[in-house]
């Protein structure tokens, strides 16, 4: 059971990280792209993360501090890694300061932190 919960937390982290990285890259490339109306129907990482969150107990209130700290640290590290890969290739206008803000907001929205 405990293993299941850990697996769900890892899957939640993966999807939330992907969603945040996507948001930051979207802002970095805003001027060059048009609204992606066609892909609105593609299942997105945030929606999937919410599916996992519902399965992580307690689902309707905050999770224990220890787990929350772990999730936050791991999400920040993952997003940073995803973005750094691009920065190292010369991708410009990526605002790394957004990682903290968006992580906090997203984790609040999913009842991980207050």
């Amino acid at each position: 059971m405990a293993q299941n919960r850990n697996k769900l937390i890892e899957l939640f982290i993966g999807n939330i990280s992907n969603a945040i990285a996507h948001k930051i890259l979207e802002r970095a490339a805003t001027k060059e792209i048009l609204a992606d109306k066609y892909r609105k129907e593609l299942v997105n990482s945030f929606e999937i993360a919410k599916r996992y969150r519902e399965k992580i107990n307690p689902s309707n209130r905050l999770i224990p501090d220890k787990d929350a700290v772990y999730i936050k640290e791991k999400v920040i590290a993952r997003v940073k890694a995803e973005l750094m890969t691009r920065i190292s290739k010369g991708y410009e206008n990526i605002d790394l300061e957004l990682i903290d803000t968006l992580t906090n907001k997203t984790l609040k929205d999913t009842k991980i932190i207050l």
Binding site: L11, G14, N15, N18, A21, H22, L25, E26, A28, A29, E32, I33, L34, A35, D36, K37, Y38, R39, E41, L42, V43, N44, S45, I48, R51, Y52, T85, R86, K89, G90, Y91, E92
Partner: protein, 267 residues
């Protein structure tokens, strides 16, 4: 004698009310109820333009004509109407009807959607674009090519756009398909297919190949050794499939990152 009246909703049965003071139609007479529209002169169905659709079931053809009429009645100015997506595939395994309305004006798509769903009983997905958005989409996005390569249009259309590769744009789109590997077990067959199709379309586009539904399905078969139906039916061998999928995803990502690197060096 004829009376025109409207069907009204009742609690147990619906009814047609007629005036109490009338000449004829006595209580107890049997009458025929018929749709008013059916009595009006029927226009021959308008010619539609088929692109990449070899065969279409007559029932679907009728539905498309009806859809076009509904939109025409609701939208005063439009450039074109396209029906696309799984509805045009053979058989009846579609989930919804995808409609693209090309117009420069503001359109209330909710009303159109409701009307179509009420008349056809099929879930409808409407997308409204203006000319600028469509041409920008065709210029940079493989998905637009794929969609307009198989469609039924109200008016004849020709698109010729210069194909440009915007690596940042493709990077964003490809990132969406990263979800597939981590979440294989939780995704439905259709969700998996859409994510795979997105990756393959980007991959072909980067290689400057033609992106059509057929070419994407062919590449799926070639690179992933499964056919599209197997993905949609969710009957994949997870380990073997994900191994091949990771290979193609990483190839596409490497091409994109190389493109971004090359672009930044040129500045």
């Amino acid at each position: 004698m004829e009376i025109i009246s409207k069907i009204s909703k009742g609690s147990r049965m619906d009814q047609v009310y007629i005036p109490k003071n009338r000449a004829g139609f006595a209580v107890g007479d049997h009458v025929v109820i018929r749709l008013l529209e059916a009595l009006q002169e029927k226009k021959p169905p308008e010619k539609l333009y088929f692109y990449g659709v070899k065969r279409l079931e007559p029932v679907k053809s009728g539905i498309i004509h009806e859809i076009m009429q509904i939109i025409e009645k609701s939208v005063a100015n439009y450039e074109n109407i396209f029906v696309t997506g799984s509805f045009l595939e053979r058989g009846f395994q579609f989930n919804d009807i995808d409609i693209l309305i090309l117009s420069e004006n503001k359109i209330n798509q909710e009303i159109i959607k409701e009307n179509i769903e009420r008349k056809t009983g099929i879930k409808t997905h409407i997308l409204i674009l203006n000319n600028k958005e469509l041409s920008k989409g065709l210029e940079t996005d493989p998905l637009y090519h794929m969609i307009l390569n198989r469609c039924i249009a109200k008016k004849r259309f020709i698109y010729k756009t210069k194909q440009t590769i915007n690596y940042k744009f493709l990077d964003l789109h490809l990132l969406k398909s990263k979800t597939l590997s981590d979440n294989f077990d939780i995704l439905s067959g259709k969700e998996k297919y859409n994510l795979v199709r997105n990756t393959i379309a980007i991959y072909l586009y980067l290689k400057k190949n033609k992106v059509t539904i057929d070419s994407v399905d062919k590449e799926i078969k070639k690179a992933l050794k499964v056919n599209s139906q197997e993905i949609k039916s969710n009957v994949l061998n997870k380990k073997a499939f994900l191994k091949k999928y990771a290979l193609i995803y990483n190839k596409a990502l490497a091409m994109i990152l190389k493109g971004i690197e090359h672009g930044s060096k040129q500045k």
